[in-house]
Assembly symmetry: D2
Homo-oligomer: 346 residues x 4
């Protein structure tokens, strides 16, 4: 069960609810968000009597039985898709949203040029790393705060939204000042200290699937963010690690369809990390549209051969523009399907 307390429920009301749950023999786990307390109750047996009793108590907004281990993010809790409004676009509704840009912010010229290119081709957000998770301590670690400021400049120049990665709970506040979406990288999908902090960051979060994480673990990590107070979460499939080495990762494209059965959160696909090879990006992007993803996160660099990271998987400006054009008829089919679904749901 999940018991969602009203905004500003009193401490006493919360305590009473917890006591009642324990009387019914369940274990209580309460999470205090900034504005609202949420109480999880776990146990065995028929929960109906308990639910009925709780719903009648002062301070309780909603009490729901949820069989999946992830609660707030499950379709059981909420059947309508979550919509995330950012940079003039609504992710999760009837618009296929493309976020594009270089792997790293390298210089003012590079990021401004990138922003113009992706805006012109139809992207709605600019991606670009200021804090870079690198396997080697000797690799370029990003421009950090300087990079954030350059992203801000690019936003003002083009009107694009900004998505950029945050790697530590210590930096969440800082990055949230500059970014429209906070990106959590695959290696941090189970950095629980970071996930908890995101509950209170005031920005939408894009949570990348860990390279050996199951779909269910991804949902549990999203549950951390939502349970701690932030429901503006989107998920990102970016390829998992398998024995196959012909591509950088193995794109588990079916996860997009599985997720859309299990959760109401929007799902983005990253064809660049999923393949690691520029020539495969357009084909996978078509497939992502066809299978029903809500958007793409794509690497584009003004001069991929000079990129400080991930050059091999970055499209050049011409390839990116061509891909955006070629995707159009597929996106038209996507829109038609969305409208049919929405109509059916009404």
């Amino acid at each position: 069960m999940i018991i969602s307390m009203r905004l500003h429920a009193t401490k006493e009301e919360v305590a009473n609810v917890c006591d009642r749950i324990k009387e019914f023999g369940y274990k209580v786990h309460s999470i205090e968000g900034e504005q609202r307390v949420v109480i999880g109750a776990v146990g065995v047996g028929d929960v109906t009597p308990c639910l009925e009793s709780l719903e009648a108590m002062p301070g309780v907004e909603k009490a729901v039985r949820i069989s999946a281990p992830y609660k707030f993010v499950s379709r059981e809790f909420r059947s309508a898709k979550t919509e995330i409004e950012v940079a003039g676009a609504i992710i999760g509704r009837d618009e296929f949203v493309v976020m594009a840009g270089p792997c790293s912010v390298e210089s003012e010229a590079q990021i401004l040029e990138s922003a113009e290119i992706v805006a012109r081709a139809g992207a709605k957000l600019l991606r670009g790393g200021a804090f870079k998770p690198r396997t080697s301590p000797y690799d370029f670690q990003g421009l950090e705060i300087e990079g954030l400021k350059l992203l801000d400049k690019a936003r003002r120049a083009t009107g694009l939204g900004i998505i950029t990665e945050v790697m530590s709970d210590r930096d969440v506040e800082l990055v949230a000042e500059y970014a429209d979406i906070l990106q959590i990288g695959a290696r941090n999908m189970q950095n629980f200290a970071l996930l908890k902090t995101l509950g209170n960051c005031g920005r939408p979060v894009l949570l990348k699937r860990g390279m050996s994480s199951t779909v269910k673990e991804l949902l549990m990590s999203a549950e951390y963010v939502v349970a701690h107070g932030n429901s503006q979460v989107m998920l990102c499939e970016r390829g998992i690690r398998t024995f196959e080495t012909v591509t950088r990762n193995t794109c588990d494209i079916v996860a997009v369809a599985v997720l859309s059965e299990l959760t109401h959160l929007p799902v983005i696909l990253d064809p660049s990390h999923a393949t690691g090879k520029r020539s495969l990006v357009p084909a996978l992007s078509r497939a992502a549209v066809a299978i029903g993803a809500d958007g793409l996160l794509v690497e584009m660099h003004p001069a991929p051969e000079k990129a400080m990271s991930d050059g091999a998987q970055s499209l050049d400006p011409k390839q990116f523009a061509q891909m955006m054009k070629d995707l159009q008829p597929h996106i038209e089919l996507w829109k038609r399907a969305r409208m049919t679904q929405t109509a059916a749901a009404v």
Copy 2:
């Protein structure tokens, strides 16, 4: 290097070519197909002088340098896509070919009903297992020859082509009598005795990727069949084995795009085994069309809840018909892209 001898080249001509290759310091591996001998020469250093010398020799049709470990199946050896004509369709050209039917042939009524359903919805071939590879010796092992005869009846009733699995080199001749395409299952992808026998079976072969085989190993297995005399081979992505258990396998959809860069052989996708779950099949099928596969191999059963195997992943007749209808606009885009490619290649 690959040296392809002329049809009916004499033993002496072959021996002379082998001697010449050895004089140049390379290792010789010759494969005697029924009609033609093919000689592989492996070694280091510049092969140009050797190639020139060989091409001038009696009995030699063609001598080519190929850097990939797979030779005949590589795009280097042949840039135009292989076309396989079967049951009135041409796989690999400008038609998206659907093969559908139950996992196993169970009875005359079941297979005839299946055939009518899939034919009516637009499939070109009927799938159905007569020899079944089952993990447990106590599971249904298929109707064997009786099953082949029922497939034949279904062909005569509907005009559909037949695709069915062969599991042992001993059965190749028998199955080839009844089938239009011989299917090699994932567990036999590296059954080299079987692959060699297929070189001479007189039927097109659909080779499924092993559940933990790389794309390159799949190509090497196809190379066995082609090098032993049968160039009518198509490949099939059916999901690989990973840590993820929410689906039966993990569909490596990008492999379709990778294969189309590396080989001229057609590529089919099996959305049923790739997902293991009926509700995911239509979404993955759309993605397969969008990424450029040449066709689908789909499980459809007249009454999935009663199926003797793979019921959970089989579409029912209504779902199959709906999917075929919903795929149409995607297939239209697929055709347009094919024609552009063909035009560009000319």
Copy 3:
């Protein structure tokens, strides 16, 4: 349930048993071995009444309830370890048995020299491939029957037993003429046609785990062989395929301990394929002894740098002798533990 019929039970007795099982509402699957019929009965509900009824019927030797999907090979069916007597050794009892030799039989000199080296160092069986499963059709495929004859010569010269691979059901009879143990390679672990034929080959079988097969699938494959009439089966862990590439495969050493809980069949470890690197073989061999494997299958080549296959993972004669010596104190501890177990079991 598994119902094991008496030797030479009549067809009528078998039919009566099958009828009785069906009366109780179970599904029947009968397997006719050369000497004995075995009947599997699968279904739901309490089987006690059915078991009791069956045990009283003419022709029935034993009827047992077994919960695991593998029956004959489970510890439930037989608690005492299977012992396999071969070449003067008893695998599965109180002797740690080493099988060693080159990957491939290459020449008379090579195999005779190998045999002497491994015999001198204390191995009991000589390994050497005559039929070689090779990823590429252009690689050395083995000396085939010529290789078998050379192995036979080596046996007569040294008294070693012979273990060699069979790749096709067609060759089982031939290989069984020359070999003391038939080896089934990882790629053929689910070649069910081959497994069935082994039921009747009259030789012990060493079944290698497929490179992406689970422990339970390995047991199911062993079940094929045993259910078809041959109980002399040993299993072999040789590494599985994972994302890690620093070694050729990833040795799932814990599988040895898991198998010894689940099955009474002996378990051999192959440290050469598991690592792919000579320098790691002695360390892994020590671990195999410590964890309680019944023996080793090791690659040793008189001159690894000239080997036609698997040179990098083959020990040279000196390394092999040193390893055998260094293993001694570990084998002493192994023996002590075995005797304690045997004493405890009595």
Copy 4:
């Protein structure tokens, strides 16, 4: 190349070295530890002239060419094994060190009882989680600071050292106050913000391998800690994620041997997480000793059936004591081998 500056080298000396490196055409990456600056220089071509030039410069302690991407942790940089002195034991020398205790600190009684049990059986350190990384936000997250204080109490009562996990760079200072070894969990192996902070924590670090991390990535993560100033790092193999589900993870035991070729850092094995099943822990522990690990990290709980986490894989007190006793003769062989190696190295 790695250029290690002297303690208290001046900023000017560092700047001069960086300039010199750039003159030679290499890229510079400098890391400022608290006491020492380390400079990495990356590029192509023969580095000898540059090395010679640098070694002569003021402020330079050592300049070394290292071909592996990990520098400080490689055997090239340092051939003698790193020794870590903690709680009266020296990890990495001639003592096999066992760290044991419950998954989580649950109460004063539980942790004090655990400490006594493991001390009595011969363990040198007590493990126990105060900050717990849990897949679900609704699971017990640990007693946090209260847990640290209880661990401290247990240390004072028994003389055991304390090893406990730290999950965020924010908590490093706090945990370092209470722990003798800071443990980094598998999910944080690539939490680079955390790794950098550990460079300056003043405590030895046990770095667990990520569940889908390669051996080389593990070394790169260790390199982060060492390059940022802390050379007291030990590595921990705890099983990787594969397709096999019969055990919780798949123990890559060969990684222990591989690591001991590639690095001078001590290697610990965690048989509890590697198997997930109590009955398999003693067998794997024997194998860990035999293959040459430097110690074990084992879960033991006074009453596993009541444990708040990981009960299924925790030994009970009797099993732990028995295992410690049974390991003795194996540890004797381990010691003999260590002494031989040390003698050979001298």
